[in-house]
Amino acid sequence: MDPEAFSVPQRQSILGVALIFSTTLYRFLRGFWVLGVYFILSNPSSATILMVSLGLVALGVLALGYSWLYYRKFLFHIDYTNQEFVLQKGVFSTEDMAIPFDKIQQVYLKRSLLQRLINVYSLVIETAGSKGDEVNIKAVTREDAQKLSSILIQVKQAHRPQEGGEYLDSEETPSSEHSRLWTHKLDFLTLLKIGISTNYIRGLALVIAFFTTIYNELNSFFKDYAEEVSEYYKQVPAPTESIGVFLVLFFILLLISIIITVVEVYLKYYGLTLVQTRESLELEMGLKTNTKVSLKPRRVQLMQIITNPVQKYFNLYETRIALASSENALLKKKIHIPGLGKDTVEKVALFLYGDVESNFEQMFSPHKLMLIRRLFFVFLPVAVSFLILQWFPYTSHAIWTGLAIGFTIIGGIYQYIRFRSLKLIFSAEFLQKKQGVWNEREERFELFKMQSVTVSQPFWYKKRNLINIVFHTAGGDVSFKAVNKDILPYINYILYKVESTNRKWM
């Protein structure tokens, strides 16, 4: 292949102007079609029609000019000396980006209907970066597109000396059928248990939301007609009498939400099998859509273990794993594996992370200032509702006091437990974060898989020497708030771990 191909900055196909123009027009129409319809319906005079058409023509000319400039300014080339793909673009604001060969994850061609019509291709270059497609050259001729993409794929492979064939394919069946170390299967009973024990908080919230709406509706209804139907108003059953009805309704709804969850869980995780072979962990599940994933230790970015007291009693732990793969830059969704026993979770963790001994373990908790602030936010609605009560007596003082006390106690206890549960634990190779009031959640990642770290300090933390930290991983952020600055040496330690290793994070 020509080693100098595409080394001079060049434009996309001239047909790109048409493409850019039509996309600009399309966007404009999408934004303003309502106005257009309104205009036509308003039965305009011929003079206004002329004015508006002239305006539209002027807009069209402007859009055409913009498209032309955009086309002129859109330049790309391959810089062989610096080993990167360079793109410059933009009319009003310009961007000049360079993608190193070894960071290119994927190169592919695609066409929309419009591109099909004018016979051009989109060439997309993806990296593992946060935006989906970093480079999208929208109008390339077939010949150029194929040439460029094949060159890019070549250089990408040349600069990425990796073990081949490590895909996240579903076709890739493990050759080592016989080398199964252990297998974990979910039976129907466990699925049932999961269904019953997960998400009933959600179900409960649903029920409560339902009732609040009904209550509000009834309330406003009776408020509106209070004067006219004051006689009937008195006959509306008092709260104590209706409690029986409400309870029955409540249980029916709870039952429905549990049944829905059970069915949902059953469909999603039907036939969940976890097979451990020597080199990977194979996961298969689902009735409607069958998912097959092979979990490779190197790909794992972040792992979460979630349980709640009821599930703990049943010995059910849910594991969530965020994977990165070179084929599919980042699997957007975390992989959820519910219903694992404690021992299985440990086996999974052992496989994914290896048996690493740590010579230290350092635990951090948030400062009590955080609790105070959170409690303040519990009191805030109480105070506001009290003030409103003074101006606009929406309920009696007795009821308000009862509700306020109940709310404060529940909110206070919730925030206290939440505050107490927050822990950040550094060990030689891992970072762990624990939290949870009802659902206990534990997150962990290998220190060297961190992408970057942000330390921030609001000015009201300065006096107390507190900071907020966000650890960014490719599987999501792990944040920890209001922690003492004593943690800084460990931030330096995690940076040291990232910067001193050659191990690939994916």
């Binding site: 980006m97 993608i99 190193p100 000396p161 770290v453 300090q457 940076l495 994916m506």
Partner: protein, 171 residues
């Protein structure tokens, strides 16, 4: 795990990111922030003018004007304070970026986690001869950094230096 050894590391002897000297950004960036805030202020004042012209309740109108002016006084003062806090620093193995006044944040991106780098300029940047440098990682938008208000040559130099560091680290 090949070259993994388990020596005890004195955590306190590691290089400390918090001691790094930050480079400040171009003073012209303050002008840019003030122009942006100024345009916004003009828009708000024009809207206020409409209300004034069509005779809304004068009391609340003057109160609104007072609030608007107070808000923009704060914004301009905040711009000034923000300007002082923008800073970046390059170390051997990472790039640091600091910003924020009310909430001051520092992001550290190790070079071996950078995906790509770009230089961008908007219209105001072009008028004031400024550039900004973006550094992208795989850690989601929170982990990317964008350093504004750089001299264009400096921005290109910074980008090239980063690119060199990347290929050093690459493979």
């Amino acid at each position: 795990m090949e070259n993994f050894s388990n020596n005890i590391i004195d955590i306190n002897s590691l290089p400390q990111y918090e001691d790094v000297e930050f480079q400040s950004i171009s003073g012209k960036y303050l002008l840019k922030s003030n122009i942006q805030t100024g345009i916004f202020m003009v828009v708000v004042l024009v809207i206020w003018g409409f209300f004034f012209f069509y005779g809304a309740n004068p009391y609340s109108l003057w109160l609104a004007l007072f609030a608007i002016l107070l808000y923009f006084a704060f914004r301009f003062w905040n711009n000034y304070k923000l300007q002082q806090n923008y800073g970046y620093a390059l170390r051997d193995k990472d790039i640091l970026y600091r910003r924020g006044f009310m909430v001051s944040s520092t992001t550290v991106v190790p070079f071996n986690r950078v995906q790509h780098v770009s230089v961008s300029r908007d219209v105001l940047d072009k008028m004031l001869d400024l550039s900004s440098v973006q550094v992208f990682t795989a850690g989601g938008s929170g982990s990317d950094i964008g350093i504004p208000g750089l001299n264009p040559q400096l921005a290109v130099q910074l980008k090239d230096a980063l690119a060199a560091k990347l290929s050093e680290n690459g493979s």
